[in-house]
Symmetry: C2
Subunit: 614 residues, 2 copies
C-alpha cells in the first residue's frame, strides 16, 4: 500500500467535502436532516463498493494504466473516448477548484475572521500551486506521505474517540465545543430533496480512479500491488464516510450556510465536538488543508498528461503533444490555472456552489470507463482464465456501469439548474473542439500532400537583406552569415535619426566596404529608408514588398540579428523585434520570403572583451 | 468646449466618488458628519481653483501636450521625471480600477440584489473594456458625448431642483425617497479625522490634467480653445461638488457602509431624495455608470501612451516603444488589465478601499508637474511677454505646487496605513525598474559595441539541416530553399514510427535523389535519428550538437519549415514547433547555429490544387 499518499490523495480528500455537500442540501430539514445522512451515506458506500470491484478489474486488464479516455476509446470507439476525455478535463479543473475552495473552507472554519477573504485566499493558494507547478517542482514522497497519513490518522482517531463517547453515552455524547445550533426546518423531506442530497454526496467518490491510471508506477507484481492499494484506499474512504455520517447524527451536526459569515465546515464542527479546539483540532485541520491543496495539485499533474494523450491522437493542437520538457507542460498548466480561477471567481470560491459541476464530469467518466470494460470482457478473456470468468467480469463492470450511470442521471436531473448544465455545455463544447481540430489538421495534411518530385534546377541563391541599426558585433556576425548565404547582400538601415545615419555611412565605408575591397569580395550594399516617426515595420515591409516585385524570379532571405540573453527576463527585454518582423512578414503572405534569425549571445560582464570575428 | 466629453470624462467622473469618499470617513460622526462636508468641499474647490490656474499656464507653455512626465523631465531632470512617470502609471491603473468599482457601486445602488456580486461585476466590466481595447475599438464622438452630456445635464437638473426645494422649504426639504437613516455617532470630530476626510475627498480632483495632455488635438487657436475647455470642465466640476455637498447636508444624506449589504452610493441617495426612483433616477444612474466606465477606458488609452514615452527614453523594454500598430499596444493593455484586476480582487471591488492608493499617485504627479512649471518660468518667458509676466506665472504655478504638495502630504500621512503605502511601495519599485532597465540596455550596448572591421575572408557556405517529417509541398519548398543557401544539405528525419520512415526512404529516392542525379546536382542526404518516445527536441539538439563538434570551422543553418495560416487561431494550432526549436537552440547557446524559417502559406480549400514548385 505504498501508493496510498500519491494515488489516494484525490480519493480520500473528498471525505472533507462529500458528506458536507449532502448535509448542505439537508439544511432545510433542520435538526431532522442529519437523520437522513446515514441512509444516504450507506447508499454512497454501496455504490463505492460497486466501483471498487469494477476498478479492480480495470487494473488487471490495463496493467500499463487504464484511464477513462484510453478504456473508452479502445473499447467503445473514438466518440465515447472523446466524451470521456472532455468529462475528465472538466473533472480535473474541478478537482483543482474544489480542492482549493474546500481547503480554504477548512482554513476559515479554524479562523473565522478570514471568512470575508474566502475568494482572495482561494486565488492566492491557486496561484501558489500554479507557480510551483510552473517551476516544475515535484512533491517528494515525504511531502505527500506526512500530510496524508496525518489526515488519515487524525480523522481515524477523532472517529474512534467519537464512537467511544457515543457508545458510552448511549448515542447522545455531549460535545466538547458545541457545534452551531441547527436552524429550524423550513421544508419537509421529499424524495426529490433526498435525491439532490445523494447527488451532492456522490462527489465523495471522485478520485478513486487514480489508482487505475497509475498501475504502471507500482512495483512487481504491480497488478496485485495496485489492487491492494485500491482496497486500502476504498476501505479507508468508506470508514471515513460512515464514521463522519454517524457522528454528525450523534452530535447533531448540520452544515452551516456556505459562503456566509459564520460558515464552519462540517469536519471542523465534528473535530471540535469530539476533541475540543486544542492541538488535536489544529493538527487535524492543518492536515485537511494540506491534503486538499495536494489533491488540487493532482489535477495539475493529470490535466497536461491527458491533453498530451488527446493531442497525440490529433484532437488537440500539436503543441500539447510533445513530451518531457517543462516548456511544453507550461501550456497545460496555464490553461488549467485560468479555467479554475474563472470557476473560483464565478462561484465565489465556495465549494458548495461548485459541487453540481463536479459530480457530472466525474460520473460521466466513471460510467464510460465501466461500459468500456464491459465491452473489453466481451472481446478478451482475463489472463489464463475461462470464458465464464470473462462473462463474470463483464457482469461486475456492468453493475459498476449501471450504478454510476444511474447516479449520473440522478446528478444530472437533480443538479441541472444549479450548475450541472455548465458541465454539460462545456463537455459539448470540448467535444466539438476536438472534432474541429482533427478535421482541420486533416484538411491541412491534404493540402500539403504532394507526389511531385523536387525540381533540382534554377537553384540560384536568394537576395539577402540584413537589418542594420549601426555597426556592432551583432551586425558583424549577421553580415558574415548573410555573405555565407549569397553574394547578393543588402544591408537595410531604417533611419529615424540623421546623425546616426551619417555615422553609420562613415562606419560602413571603413568597416565593410574597405575590407571587402581588400579581400576582393562584393561588398554588401547599404540601403537606407527614412522613417521620421521611428516606425520600423511599415518601412521594412515596403522595402521587402518592392524587392519581391522588382525581382520576380528571386527568393529573398531577411536576416534578423537577434540579441539573446539566457536569463529569465530575456523575453521581456529583447526577442520581440525579431518575432514581430516574422509576424509581419508572415501576415503579408509573401511567398518567396524567408526569415533567418542570427543570434548574438549576450554574456553579461564576463564576456565583455572583444572576441575573434565569428 | 468641444473637448469636454473626451477630455472632461476623467475629471467629471470623480464627482461620483470624491464627495462620497469624504462622507465615508465622516460616517463615525453620525448625522453631524454631513455638516463638515461643506467646509471640506469648499477647501477642495479652492485647491481645484489653484490647480486650474496652474494648468492654464501649462497649456500655454506646452501647446503640443504637457503631460506630467514631459514637464517634470524637461524642467526638473530625469529623476523627478521618472518619479512622475511611476506616479502616473499607478494613477492610470487606479483610474481603471476606481472607474469600474464606482460604476458597479452605482449599479448595485440601483439594483441592491446585485450587491453580493460586486467583485464579479467589476471583473466582468473590466474584461469587457479590456476586450474592446484589445480589438482596437475606438469610442466614437457620439458614444462619448451622449453619456457625458446626459451625466452633466441630469446631475445639474437634480441639483437645481434640489436647491429649489431646499430654498422653498427654508433649508429643510423633505425627500421623495428618504435616504437610509444615518447611524449614531461613535466618535467625536477631530482635526485628524477631518484631515482624513479632506484627503479622501481630494480624489474628486483627479483627471483634471487630461486637457493639458491633449492640447495638440484642439482646433486653432488651440491654446485658447484648450483653456476654454479646461475652464468649462473646472466650473462644471466645482458646481457638482458644491451642489452635492450642500444637498447632502440639506437632505441629511451620509455615506453607507462600503462593500456591505445595504450599500447605496451617495449620488443614488441624493437623486432618489430629490427626484424619487422614477425615470429620472434610472437615466441619471445609467449615465453615471456609463461615464465611470468610459473614464476607466481613458486609463486604457493613456497607459500604453505613457509606457511608449518612457520606453523611447530607454527606461522600459523596447517592445513598448514602437508606434502605431495594434499588436504593440496589446502589451500595455494586458499589463493594465492584469494590474487593475489584481487591485480589484485585492480590495474586493470596493471603491472606498481603493481611494487611499488613488490620491497619492494623482497628487504626486500634480505636484511634480507644477514644480516643473515653476522651473520652466524661471528659464522661459511666456510668448511675447515681459520678465514680470514670467515671474507672475512662476508664482501661480508655485501656489499650485504648494497647494497640491500640502494635499499630497496630508494624503500620505492620513492614508498611509489604509493603503497609501501600497502606492509608495509601487512607485519606488517602478522607479527602480526604470533605472535597472536603462542600465541594462546601456550595458548591452557596451557589450556589443565594436570598432573591429568585417573579416571578409573564409566565407564558406553553412551546413544546412532541414527538418523533414515526410514528403510534402512544405518539405519541397524548404528543401529548395536549403539548396539555394548551400551545397551541403542534410535532411534530418526524427523517426518515431518505422513504417513512416520506410515510406519516407522510398519517397526520398524517388522524389529527391533521382531528380538531383538527373540535374547533376548533389542530392540532399537523408539523416535519420530514431526517437521511440516521440521526443523531438532532445534528438534534434543532440544531432546539431554533434554537428557543431565534428565541424569546428563550419556554420550550421537549421531550416525549419513552418505552416502559416493567416487566421486568428493560427497561433493556437501551428507556429509552436518552429518557435520552440528556436527557443531550444538559443537556450543551448551554440554560437555557430542560425535558424531559417521557411513559411508555407496555407490557403484552405481554394488553394488545394497543385502549384508549380516554388
Ligand atoms: K476528490
Ligand atoms: K473520493
Ligand atoms: K477526479
Ligand atoms: K477621475
Ligand atoms: K475630477
Ligand atoms: K487621472
Amino acid at each position: 500500500a505504498a501508493g496510498i499518499p500519491m494515488l489516494g490523495l484525490d480519493a480520500l480528500s473528498s471525505a472533507a467535502y462529500g458528506p458536507e455537500a449532502a448535509l448542505t442540501i439537508l439544511i432545510v430539514l433542520g435538526a431532522g436532516g442529519t437523520t437522513y445522512a446515514n441512509p444516504i451515506t450507506l447508499l454512497i458506500v454501496i455504490l463505492l463498493a460497486l466501483v471498487y470491484f469494477s476498478y479492480r478489474q480495470t487494473i488487471a486488464a490495463y496493467p500499463n494504466g487504464g484511464g477513462s479516455y484510453t478504456v473508452a476509446k479502445e473499447n467503445l470507439g473514438v466518440g465515447p473516448g472523446l466524451l470521456a476525455a472532455a468529462a475528465l478535463m472538466i473533472d480535473y479543473v474541478l478537482v483543482v477548484a474544489v480542492g482549493v475552495s474546500a481547503g480554504v473552507g477548512a482554513l476559515v472554519s479554524a479562523a473565522p475572521e478570514l471568512q470575508p477573504y474566502t475568494l482572495t485566499l482561494c486565488l492566492v493558494i491557486l496561484g501558489l500551486i500554479a507557480a510551483m507547478n510552473l517551476r516544475g517542482a515535484r512533491e517528494s514522497g515525504v511531502a505527500l506521505a506526512v500530510p496524508t497519513y496525518l489526515f488519515i490518522a487524525s480523522l481515524f482517531g477523532v472517529i474512534a474517540v467519537g464512537l467511544g463517547k457515543a457508545l458510552a453515552s448511549g448515542g447522545q455524547p455531549s460535545p466538547v465545543v458545541p457545534p452551531p445550533v441547527v436552524p429550524a426546518a423550513t421544508e419537509a423531506a421529499t424524495w426529490w430533496l433526498l435525491a439532490k442530497a445523494f447527488a451532492s454526496g456522490c462527489t465523495a467518490m471522485t478520485g478513486v480512479e487514480a489508482v487505475s491510471n497509475g498501475v504502471a508506477a507500482f512495483r512487481e507484481p504491480r497488478v496485485k500491488n495496485a489492487q491492494r492499494t485500491l482496497t486500502a484506499i476504498i476501505v479507508i474512504l468508506a470508514v471515513l464516510l460512515l464514521g463522519i455520517a454517524y457522528l454528525c447524527k450523534a452530535y447533531g451536526i448540520g452544515a452551516t450556510e456556505p459562503g456566509a459569515a459564520g460558515y464552519e465546515s462540517t469536519l471542523s464542527q465534528l473535530v471540535g465536538a469530539v476533541a475540543g479546539r486544542g492541538a488535536v483540532y489544529y493538527v487535524t485541520i492543518a492536515s485537511v488543508l494540506a491534503v486538499l491543496c495536494l489533491s488540487a495539485n493532482t489535477g495539475f499533474a493529470d490535466f497536461p498528461r491527458l491533453c498530451r494523450a488527446v493531442a497525440l491522437d490529433g484532437f488537440l493542437p500539436n503543441g500539447f503533444a510533445h513530451r518531457g520538457r517543462r516548456l511544453v507542460y507550461t501550456e497545460g498548466i496555464l490553461v488549467i490555472t485560468v479555467l479554475s480561477a474563472v470557476l473560483l471567481v464565478a462561484f465565489d470560491g465556495v465549494t458548495d456552489h461548485l459541487i453540481p459541476l463536479f459530480a457530472v464530469g466525474a460520473f460521466l467518466a466513471f460510467t464510460l470507463s465501466q461500459i468500456g470494460m464491459v465491452v473489453h470482457w466481451l472481446k478478451h478473456r482475463p489472463e489464463g482464465q475461462s470464458r465464464a470468468a470473462a462473462k463474470w467480469a463483464a457482469v461486475v463492470n456492468g453493475l459498476g456501469a449501471l450504478g454510476t450511470g444511474v447516479a449520473l442521471v440522478v446528478v444530472l436531473v437533480a443538479k441541472f439548474v444549479e450548475g450541472a448544465w455548465v458541465t454539460v455545455a462545456l463537455v459539448a463544447t470540448l467535444v466539438a473542439l476536438f472534432v474541429w481540430v482533427r478535421r482541420h489538421y486533416r484538411s491541412v495534411a491534404r493540402e500539403v500532400a504532394s507526389t511531385t518530385p523536387l525540381a533540382a534546377t534554377n537553384l540560384n541563391p536568394p537576395l539577402v537583406v540584413v537589418l542594420v541599426r549601426g555597426w556592432s558585433r551583432v551586425t558583424r556576425k549577421a553580415l558574415r552569415m548573410a555573405m555565407r548565404l549569397s553574394p547578393n547582400v543588402y544591408a537595410l538601415h531604417i533611419a529615424a535619426d540623421e546623425q546616426r545615419l551619417l555615422a553609420l555611412e562613415e562606419e560602413w565605408e571603413k568597416y565593410v566596404t574597405a575590407p571587402c575591397l581588400a579581400a576582393g569580395v562584393a561588398a554588401p550594399q547599404l540601403a537606407v529608408v527614412t522613417s521620421p516617426y521611428r516606425r520600423l515595420y511599415g518601412p521594412l515591409m515596403e522595402f521587402i514588398g518592392d524587392m519581391v516585385k522588382t525581382h520576380p524570379n528571386r527568393h529573398i532571405a531577411v536576416v534578423v540579428p537577434e540579441l539573446v540573453e539566457r536569463k529569465w527576463y530575456h523575453f521581456l527585454l529583447h526577442n520581440q523585434t525579431a518575432a514581430l518582423i516574422k509576424g509581419y512578414l508572415y501576415f503579408s503572405g509573401l511567398e518567396r520570403v524567408v526569415v533567418v534569425n542570427v543570434p548574438w549571445y549576450l554574456k553579461g560582464d564576463e564576456g565583455a572583451g572583444e572576441k575573434a570575428p565569428a
